[in-house]
Symmetry: C2
């Protein structure tokens, strides 16, 4: 009896239990009320119900103040960026898809930085990662910091004095470009999981529809990190003559089983949330608990064990003063909580300490669309530039480019000896390592698949502490490209403990490599 | 319209949607019935509801055939091993706990192999990992294979011709030893989350209560892998004079933030399952969905990326014949499913291919107690043998042993020159590396904490592909032990791609190292 009482006392009780969970609770034989009152409760679990009740009350205040049509439910919990903060191109022609009949039309939302040159030859297409929006850096329309704020601007890695940079919101996302939350004109309802499964190639096709609309025939470069690196490689692959250079940072040419496993775990917890409702939640409550849990798993893959060792170690969260006073009277040590207790746990739970502008924690689970996460993470899983992967998609590989690599816009504006500069440029890029002498079989398949990129300069950059896109995958991309005969492969590996997130944080090294490659 | 229809057609529909999920679905504005009928559905999500309905119907058939008292609900979904398949010791004295007042009494369930010598000097205490039971190998009482079947027996790593092996079910578990699902005698109900938070030390204290009962004063060796390695080190630490040798395989002396992060993710998805009900589900439905999702995450940490590359690569599950025929008429490629599609996903989802006898997949989520998972994984997180960790627990470190290491039972039965053998033994174990010349600060803290083990022979074995207990943690245990002045540290690192699970699979190398160390 003593032990049970002690344990109850010491289980870090705080806040009030939410009694009203009946709508989500299965029917059970309930213990007597007095016993139920003594039960421990768990703030980390109650947080889900608190969030849900907050959403409900904000919904009811919206619906009581607006007239809702039969088709228009209350506002979605994820708020799209204001349509005034980006431009939108409505592409009213069919967009071909890898796995399905074309989408009849699509919207493509995008932002730009710098000035388009009269010859339209200074364009860099920047691709986003999974959950990032087109807001890579602040603009006049939207002065808040972007996710690559310090990489874009005058004199920065993507130099706005020199380049015109375009970043699109990705097909399948929820920031203005067509995705599962968009209205299907044939039903007047959001697509939800009636949206077709899409591929990284489909995302790139949508981007090039925008480039066509803008009259941009050739890109100076295609640049991306993480999933953006997949898009960047896919752009160079699909349109060899239209892409001058390719930058692939912490990406891959084919998703590995371990990366698929981590994304599968995220999709599983999300789809198991009863609110997900097979994807049809747009008139109801979003699967915010599943999103939160998925985000926690994802966050584990974005940094590295060594970083956590340095940053958190085994430190515990600070207890409130009253709790600590309570404990100091005991002859027993502080009792661990079953809810988050170590700093690493509170970091994953709240992500309050996330300082860089990727959508974080609570914000993420309410503002990002769950179906977008599912569709886009699936597109990453199925990405495969090996020859068998290309054949599976029934794609005919285009011929490698025959045109020479582009001159930097600053040089092309000086008519003096472009041939010599060009020659010099090629020389400086032909110092890359030779291909591996005895490559394993899978590298041959990848090299076969990457042949359309064999004449395109490619920068491959990886990070040794990355557990999501491990450095072995970076090496295999560089090696396979060299095996195609490509002599314009630049390859860098970075150290440090920031793992996959290095591309967001290491302006010095990541930015420097990009600047050098684009010059 | 075409795209939407196509997408619906191609979303791998199979099985019937379960309509009756109202008890778990929040109130939503429902679309019209005809529209709802067209909606895609997802077998991987429906599986949760199917399992729940299976549990419900098995419950109702049980309760209709039995008379239930007011306190006794239907059978728990997790079936304890038959009490006839193991022995149980009822310890009717208080068991001291690290964080709370003592438990007034505990049951300790255990199994044994081999024969106890008249001098009771041939005992090996084998510790289990998180979810394993005492059934390490087949016995007369229970002839099914155990989780270490090939490591225990005549001539095997734990040689039953020589040793008497005891394996207990762990405190906090659900296999007969007291845990959260046990009946609290003060309430007549299961403890649930009124069970006190426990430590690895508490588990070891329960084991030694059993040894006292059996009249076993000294162990020849304490042997464990994974969490069992933590217990093994803790046993040698708590009772230096009572533990002859310590074997620690793929364990750690202090959990790392990245291991805590992975277990935190598991607890989070489990505790978010509405069925968990703050731990009070014993009268209702268990949180089987949360358990399944937690298990998926855990499984990711048990193997390695290289193993999945070799074993699954990017292979897809085989489609049913009808689906394949359907697709072959299309000009489009096979559409990926949002439910598990890659073999790595089906492996994580079903674990049907698990051939070794750890509780797997479906079986795990129904047969293992969710609260046991929470309490035991928390005990792993808080395990910390550094000096600050020991001080936090207000433990007084015992003095290192003064008695010499034990002689092998076969030698002690031959009275010829035990002194010489002993000397020889010491020599053969003093060849270990010297301690590191310039150890970092954290190693000093660990060495300070490990001082009680400074005269105990310890085998530390790690696996280079282990991502849960990485090899750096194995090295730090061995280094810190050597820094205590311990000259009897044997240290091995294994290669291979089996990751953390190597200890279950690699009889040749793991078994060989143990056999050599125990001889």
């Amino acid at each position: 009896m003593q032990a049970a009482k002690t344990s109850t006392r010491r289980l870090k009780l705080s806040g009030n239990a939410l009694r009203n969970r009946s709508s989500r609770r299965p029917t059970t034989v309930q213990a007597s009320t007095s016993q139920a009152r003594d039960r421990p409760h768990f703030p980390c679990v109650e947080a889900h119900a608190v969030r849900e009740s907050r959403i409900r009350s904000s919904r009811s205040s919206i619906s009581s103040s607006t007239t809702t049509s039969s088709h228009a439910g209350p506002e979605p919990a994820y708020a799209r960026p204001s349509p005034t903060s980006y431009k939108t191109y409505h592409h009213d022609q069919p967009l071909p898809l890898s796995y399905s009949e074309p989408l009849p039309s699509v919207d493509i939302a995008y932002e730009t930085w710098g000035t388009l040159s009269p010859a339209k030859d200074n364009v860099i297409l920047l691709h986003t990662g999974l959950s990032a929006s087109s807001h890579a850096a602040s603009t006049d329309l939207n002065p808040t910091e972007g996710w690559w704020e310090n990489f874009i601007g005058p004199g920065r890695a993507l130099d706005t004095n020199q380049f015109f940079i375009i970043c699109t919101n990705v097909l399948g996302g929820c920031y203005g470009t067509t995705g599962p939350s968009s209205i299907d004109s044939t039903t007047g309802q959001p697509y939800a999981t009636r949206f077709p499964v899409i591929s990284i190639f489909d995302m790139v096709r949508a981007q090039f529809a925008l480039l066509d609309h803008l009259g941009i025939e050739k890109l100076y470069a295609s640049v991306g990190s993480s999933m953006g690196a997949m898009q960047s490689l896919a752009a160079g692959w699909l349109y060899p003559e239209r892409v001058g250079k390719v930058v692939s940072i912490s990406g891959t040419a084919r998703s590995s089983p371990s990366a698929i496993a981590m994304r599968f775990a995220q999709r599983s917890v999300l789809m198991a949330d009863p609110n997900w409702n097979n994807g049809f939640y747009y008139d109801g409550l979003p699967p915010h608990t599943g999103m939160k849990l998925a985000r926690q798993i994802a966050t584990i893959t974005y940094r590295s064990g060594p970083e956590w060792d340095q940053r958190f170690g085994r430190k515990l969260r600070r207890l409130s003063k009253s709790t600590e006073e309570g404990d100091s009277n005991s002859h027993l040590p502080r009792v661990p909580a079953l809810c988050p207790d170590f700093l690493i746990e509170t970091y994953l739970d709240y992500q309050a300490s996330f300082s860089y502008p990727r959508l974080a924690g609570e914000s993420f689970c309410l503002k990002y669309d769950a179906n977008s996460l599912i569709y886009i993470s699936k597109a990453m899983d199925v990405f495969d530039l090996t020859r068998p992967g290309i054949d599976e998609l029934r794609l005919t590989p285009p011929q490698p480019r025959t045109s020479p690599p582009p001159l930097p816009p600053s040089m092309s504006s000086h008519p003096s000896s472009p041939t010599h500069s060009h020659y010099h440029w090629l020389l400086s890029h032909s110092k890359s390592h030779p291909p591996p002498p005895n490559p394993p079989a899978h590298l041959h398949e990848l090299a076969e698949g990457l042949r359309p990129l064999s004449n395109t300069p490619v920068l491959v950059l990886g990070v040794q502490s990355d557990i999501l896109f491990p450095v072995e995958q970076q090496r295999e991309v560089a090696d396979a490209l060299r095996m195609t005969g490509n002599q314009m492969v630049s390859y860098y590996e970075l150290g440090g403990v920031w793992g996959h997130d290095t591309f967001l944080l290491d302006v010095q090294n990541v930015g420097g490599a990009i600047r050098g490659f684009l010059a």
